[in-house]
C-alpha cells in the first residue's frame, strides 16, 4: 500500500517537476509546480508529518502559488522568445547536473542501505499538537525572529510595489 502510494505520487512529482523545467510558458510551469507540491504533501503524510502536509497545501500550493499566478497574469508575460542561454551553460550544464545527481544518489545509496523502511504510522510525533508544543517552547526564539522577518518582508513588498503609483 505504501509502496503503491509512494510510486504513484513520486512519479507525479518527478513528471511535474520535469514539466516545470521544460515548459515555455510560465503559467504552465506554475500549474505543474502546484502538482509537485500536492504530491509532496501526500508523501509528507506518508512520513507522519500531518501538520507540515496541511501547511504545504495551505501555504505553498495555496498562498505562494496564487501569488505567482497573480503576478504572471498581471504582467501578461508570454513565453520565452529566444533561448539565449550562454555557451558555457549549454555546454557544461547537463553533464554537471547529471554528475551532481549521480553523486547525491551514490552517497544516499551508500550511507542508507535498505534498512530503515517507511510504513504509515511509523512516526506519530508530527501532529499539530506536537509541532506546536515544540514551536512555542524549544524553538520560541526562532519563531519570534521569523515574525520580525515577515514584518520586514511585508514592509519591503509594500514599499517596492508602492513606488510606481506616485
Amino acid at each position: 500500500m505504501e509502496l503503491i502510494l509512494f510510486l504513484v505520487f513520486a512519479g507525479i512529482a518527478v513528471a511535474a517537476a520535469i514539466n516545470v523545467v521544460v515548459q515555455r510558458h510560465p503559467i504552465s510551469s506554475a500549474i505543474s509546480l502546484i502538482a509537485v507540491m500536492g504530491s509532496l504533501a501526500v508523501l509528507y503524510l506518508l512520513l507522519g508529518a500531518e501538520f507540515i502536509a496541511a501547511a504545504q497545501v495551505i501555504v505553498y500550493a495555496g498562498a505562494i502559488m496564487v501569488l505567482f499566478i497573480f503576478v504572471i497574469m498581471l504582467l501578461n508575460a508570454g513565453g520565452e522568445t529566444k533561448p539565449g542561454r550562454s555557451f558555457i551553460a549549454s555546454l557544461l550544464g547537463v553533464p554537471v547536473l547529471v554528475a551532481l545527481l549521480a553523486l547525491l544518489a551514490f552517497f544516499t545509496a551508500r550511507i542508507y542501505p535498505r534498512d530503515t523502511e517507511v510504513h504509515f504510522g511509523g512516526f506519530r510525533g508530527g501532529t499539530a499538537q506536537a509541532v506546536g508544543r515544540a514551536l512555542f517552547t524549544t524553538y520560541l526564539l526562532p519563531f519570534e525572529i521569523t515574525s520580525i522577518l515577515i514584518l520586514i518582508a511585508i514592509v519591503g513588498a509594500v514599499v517596492l510595489a508602492r513606488k510606481e503609483l506616485e
Partner: protein, 103 residues
Amino acid sequence: MMGHVPLSWFLMLSAVLFSLGVAGFIFRRNIITMFMSIELILNAVNLTFITFAYQRQQVAGHLFAFFVMVVAAAEAAVGLAIILTVFKNRETLNIDDLDSMKN
C-alpha cells in the same frame, strides 16, 4: 517487509527534484520561471528534512521545514514585488536583458 518503502527512496526523490530545480535555474531565462525553480529546490530540501525527522523520530525536522516554508513565503512576496518593479521599469522578464550592473 512487503509493501514498505525504503527510506533512501525518499532521499533519492529529493535529489532528483533538487537537480531538476537547479536545471531550471540554469537553463531558463524567464525570471519568474527561475524563481519557481528556487521554490522547487526548497521543496526538495523540505522533503529531506521530513525524511530525516522520520528516521530520527524527532519533531525538530518538521520545525525546520516549517521555518523554510515561512521564509519562502516572505521571499516570494519580496521577490515578486521586485519582479513587478523591474517589469514596470524595463518592460522585460528576460534575465539576459537585465544586465545594467554589468557595465
